[in-house]
Symmetry: C2
Subunit: 145 residues, 2 copies
DNA sequence: TTATATTTGCAACTTAGTTGCATTTAATAA
DNA sequence: TTATTAAATGCAACTAAGTTGCAAATATAA
């Protein structure tokens, strides 16, 4: 199975042990094209995992540059897979995120950079994030039927 | 006192009763130039108010267009005073927000509009928000001393 | 002044996430 | 192949943010 190998390679690169739990959680991220919360993962994983283990795995993956937090209006933190340019040293997620107000999923729009805005005198920028809300492709297509 | 009158006028316009609690909470918003969380308000108000009352007041003020939620990376929701163009029907907060990574305060940058980004085919935008992180004016000036 | 809808406070609850600690296990070395 | 050990997992108990139901208090209008 190709994707299992890729998943394992990701973990190896991050110097993480190849555990069933980590493989399962990564598999869930690969399955969905949008950002996932603790609850999403807990619901999608067949063999029940402990809450603490899921939260700790998410934190570890984030630290190692495998996933990144996605700013969102929901009350749970959501994470999405990083692209290969993210490392344990720096997250390279300068892309916008899109939250669908219909299906409530949040997508990384990897090929849309966050525009920079000139700030008032005295303020200096380090990093920006941008969340666009609206209707996603799938929901727009469903509405046409 | 001028600002008390202004505060009362705001409440009147919103069809809200002029209660001591509401006047106190609004006064706190007028005192600080940045967005406030429940905790900020709870700490700044001299006569202790019930937690539930504070949360309910914030919700009421938001519904009436007096304050707006500010997207933030902290774990508490923060609110800032709306400018006069916000109404109970629509919040008009298309400006960017700036979060200082040194003092952790979040400012409305009212005169900087959120730039629009063309979305991939199929996605339609309804609303965007943008959070710029960096060092605020006060913190930058302190660093120069 | 009284009547009434609104607001407030208290207690109990929920939801998201964390901490400490004992047990298990993946990876490495003998 | 087995033993060693640092890392990972699970359980229980906890914290922090926010909510709900209900009874008591109060701002406003008659
Ligand atoms: Mn992303
Ligand atoms: Mn604002
Ligand atoms: Zn959608
Ligand atoms: Zn600052």
């Amino acid at each position: 199975m190709k994707s299992l190998e890729e998943t394992d390679a990701l973990l190896k690169e991050a110097n993480l042990k190849l555990t069933p739990t980590r493989r399962r959680i990564l598999k869930v991220f690969r399955k969905y094209p949008f950002a996932l919360s603790y609850n999403d993962i807990n619901d999608s994983v067949k063999e029940k995992l402990d809450k603490v283990t899921i939260y700790r795995t998410l934190k570890t993956f984030e630290e190692k540059g495998i996933i990144h937090q996605v700013l969102d209006t929901s009350s749970q933190v959501k994470y999405a897979l990083c692209n290969s340019s993210c490392s344990k040293h720096e997250h390279q997620d300068a892309h916008i995120h899109f939250k669908c107000t219909s299906c409530h999923q949040t997508y990384c729009i990897e090929d849309r950079e966050i525009p920079s805005v000139p700030l008032p005198k005295g303020f200096t920028e380090v990093h920006s994030s941008m969340l666009v809300e609206g209707i996603c492709k799938d929901c727009n297509e469903l509405a046409l039927l």
